[in-house]
């Protein structure tokens, strides 16, 4: 029993050093939490993040289950990336519509902040030991332009190689390197305390 627990713990803590699992179930189990975090960080909304992850899982299983296991990571992260972009676009359109209807300005004519869906549920970050550090990193990552943010998250956080990152982002490997270099430059400035 102890050995099973220790194996489970080791698997949970070190799942980033494992190879891509042979079954879709194991692969999705390995990435689902990080996928949720990635969607949550970009969308800033837990329900939207859950929808994005669920949709990415469904699409991967439906369309790519017969692909070799080695191709699942870039495919999955690519699907999730597009889903996040779709949700961001929808949110932007909603903001524009609200602006047209007069909801974008306050009584004094000042511009109200961009519409964001309410998220009343308590965030899990409160329970993290390194809450402040993660929050700082998340805030810095959110300030990056979209493509730099995607390159940083897929390449640095998720650990895809350049080719896989390029495939997931739908661009060339050179573009990935450029986006990543700029992202790292910005983050070094933002996260001076980490040095």
């Amino acid at each position: 029993m102890n050995s099973m627990v220790s194996t489970l713990d080791a698997g949970m803590l070190n799942d980033d050093v494992r190879e891509t699992p042979a079954t879709l179930d194991a692969f999705l189990a390995q990435v689902e939490r990080r996928a949720f975090r990635m969607a949550e960080l970009q969308l800033r909304h837990r329900e939207d993040a859950m929808d994005a992850v669920q949709d990415a899982m469904l699409r991967l299983v439906k369309h790519y289950r017969d692909k070799p296991a080695a191709e699942w990571p870039p495919l999955f992260w690519g699907i999730l990336r597009r889903r996040v972009v779709d949700l961001q676009r929808r949110r932007k359109v909603r903001s524009i519509v609200v602006g047209w209807l007069g909801g974008g300005r306050d009584d004094d004519g000042g511009e109200l902040p961009t519409w964001e869906p309410a998220d009343p549920s308590p965030g899990p970050l409160e329970r993290l030991r390194d809450v402040q550090s993660y929050a700082d990193m998340a805030a810095a990552v959110r300030q990056l332009p979209q493509r730099q943010r995607e390159a940083f998250m897929l390449r640095m956080l998720e650990g895809l190689d350049v080719a896989e990152t390029a495939r997931a982002m739908g661009c060339s490997e050179g573009s990935v390197k450029t986006h990543l270099s700029r992202a790292m430059h910005h983050l070094r400035d933002q996260l001076e305390d980490w040095r």
Partner: protein, 139 residues
């Protein structure tokens, strides 16, 4: 997939402290998701995987209405397009009775009760007429 915590083939330099710290926080945050959210993620995964295990139901869902539609279409065709009957009309019978070419196919004589009596009176004339009509005039 390449391991994030190892040097990548395309990246010959070691990870910087910033990269290591970012990755560490990232994985900690991912592992410490609250139980409710983790449960929902598991449920989403199961739902996605089960969606592929029911292709037969999906096919049956289409086969049933398709089969019903085909049966209705067949019934409608049988009602509106009845099978052709092998009964010739009386006029055709009359002509075929006098036509020598048709006579070979119809050995039975015409029914006397149903046939025009004038036909019998001028039977030779009609026979001559039919024979000459079948050969077009040269002039």
């Amino acid at each position: 997939m390449t391991s994030p915590n190892h040097h990548r083939p395309d990246d010959k330099r070691p990870d910087t402290p910033l990269e290591q710290r970012a990755r560490e926080l990232w994985h900690e945050a991912a592992q410490r998701i609250d139980p409710a959210t983790a449960g929902r993620l598991r449920a989403a995964r199961r739902q996605a995987l089960e969606s592929t295990r029911a292709p037969a139901h999906h096919t049956a869902r289409w086969l049933i209405p398709t089969g019903a539609f085909a049966a209705i279409a067949l019934a409608a065709m049988m009602v509106w397009l009845p099978l052709p009957k092998h009964v010739t009309s009386p006029s055709i019978q009359a002509v075929s009775a006098t036509d020598p070419s048709v006579e070979q196919d119809n050995d039975l004589p015409p029914d006397a009760d149903k046939t025009d009596p004038n036909l019998y009176q001028n039977l030779d004339f009609y026979g001559w007429l039919a024979a000459n009509n079948s050969q077009p005039a040269t002039r």
